[in-house]
Symmetry: C2
Subunit: 323 residues, 2 copies
């Protein structure tokens, strides 16, 4: 008779607009090894799956082979938990409906479950991070895009079709900035890392004042450059965060009216820009919140390392898949 | 030994900005008798509770007295399910925190539970109406204000503090119309019955064309007048519904991105304005919906009679209260 941990590991995989990170995770939530590929390098989904698999297979072998893997959990933009598919993801190279879980099950040979990358991060935060013990919270991921994972009564909100929680595509400015989704004025066109860079380019054209950001070719500016300039006292860079934070805070005040969460947890590089971004977010929430919610919802920063949170969260799904 | 239905009835009460309706309901969901008072006639909460009680007591007596009443359920704006309080309700005469459940328990002598009036309507719809069998839907109540009851995974969304689901106070126009809540641009300033009347007054000033609505003193116009004029072919009145429906549809498209409901159910007088309001709502949803949600969420009209839905929904809480 075999007992206990004959399959002691799961695989967690986070598919981002820029990077795909995957790793081996044990039952205590230790990320034992990771590797990654550039998501955008593969126009064809078959090439992508093969590129990931050719790196993942040796990783799995080094931990005893697929016999030791209970399952694989994947976090992906527009991931459908019910069907294991990625559907119409605006920031990924593959269009239409992609049966991603099935493709990886075939390539790797372990049962695979998939959800929204932000839902996966929320599961990770609930299990290991700032949301431990919380039954109602909203996770906002600020990356290439803006994602969200909503937890109500201790459960992920999947909706009737598996796609609930696309708060990055709530429209915050009617006829605003063109979004990758085909619509205009989505939250993520302003408050993602890409949105910050876009704001920088707009501000540099609209305002005549000197700025450290003028030393960088406009198309090359990334949100990290804006942060570095802000730290060095650059007023225009600080105003970019002010602008970004205000729009995000206004949106968060509306989100609170939906599920009245105990906390909103910000995740991703932008959330680490400290007071430059957090102060305007807090002020915009306070200025725009309905009176009954005043001062009740905590604004927190993720307690997990960026890569680990998504990999950990996705990996948690790996324990639950049916073999 | 006493078995079964020694307490065969519950009381349901719906507190609206205009009317308070209450009734006796049996275990099959039949509303056996109702009565009402005008909510706005009582500046002091004690006078209000006494006025309701003096009509409710004889109603209860006619069904055998409080011994036959299992409990009372109340639906009220800004009702807190966890505490039994009404807190800072902008459309009610009583300010601050009102311990309404306790006041009625003392006045009537039956255990009382309280929730948001829109949550109560959602419970009614789920039990007896268009949402039977649904696990994910959003109820939008279009009355003096705009309320909402959100159901996720078959459960009412109360949030960490009991106040989730104030979608009438999502801000749809920055620096828009002044709202009773003290903020500007809330959905309910445009899409409630009051909002429609306000739009009528704005349109009558801004546009020179003739309209049947000009026969009514501007301050006296109510949404029913706009409907009547629209039915008689009045272009300006039809445009008012067009404008109202577009703003509501834009907001609903954003709400879908939150919980991806199987249906959105509209409740209240405005929802009965037929194609005048439903067509622009549907068009605005279609124009503004994120691709992954396209054509998936049903837009339905409540199947319950206005008064009954709220009274029935509230009464359902009466079966669950602790004696």
């Amino acid at each position: 008779m075999v007992t206990g941990m004959e399959k002691p590991y799961v695989v967690g995989m986070d598919i981002g607009g820029t990077n795909t990170v995957f790793g081996i995770v044990d039952s205590r939530g230790n990320v034992l090894a990771t590797d990654s590929v550039k998501t955008q390098s593969f126009a064809k989904i078959e090439d992508y799956v093969e590129a990931v698999s050719s790196k993942l297979r040796p990783l799995i072998e080094s931990f005893g082979g697929v016999e030791k893997i209970k399952g694989m959990g994947v976090g992906a933009p527009n991931g459908n938990y019910y069907n294991g598919t990625i559907e119409f993801a605006p920031n990924l190279p593959w269009k239409g409906v992609i049966p991603l879980a099935a493709l990886f099950e075939e390539a790797i040979g372990v049962p695979t479950a998939l959800t929204n990358d932000a839902n996966a991060a929320a599961i990770g935060e609930m299990t290991y991070g700032a949301a431990r013990g919380m039954k109602d919270f909203i996770m906002i991921t600020l990356g290439t895009g803006v994602g969200s994972g909503i937890v109500v009564n201790g459960q992920l909100v999947y909706g009737h079709d598996g796609f609930a929680g696309e708060l990055g595509h709530v429209i915050v400015r009617r006829d605003g900035r063109q979004c990758g989704c085909g619509r205009k004025g989505c939250l993520e066109t302003y408050c993602s890392a890409t949105g910050v860079a876009r704001t920088a380019r707009e501000f540099l054209v609209a305002r005549p004042e000197p700025s450290l950001l003028r030393d960088i070719p406009a198309e090359d500016i990334v949100s990290k450059d804006v942060f570095d300039a802000a730290v060095r006292g650059d007023k225009l860079a600080q105003d970019i965060f002010e602008y970004t934070g205000r729009i995000l805070g206004e949106a968060l005040a509306d989100f609170i009216a939906f599920s009245s969460p105990e906390a909103i947890i910000l995740f991703g590089g932008l959330a680490k820009s400290g007071d430059y971004i957090m102060k305007p977010i807090r002020k915009a929430i306070d200025d725009n919140i309905l009176k009954i919610y005043e001062g009740k919802t905590k604004l927190l920063i993720s307690e997990l390392k960026d890569a680990d949170a998504a990999v950990l969260g996705a990996s948690a799904l790996g324990w639950e898949v049916r073999e």
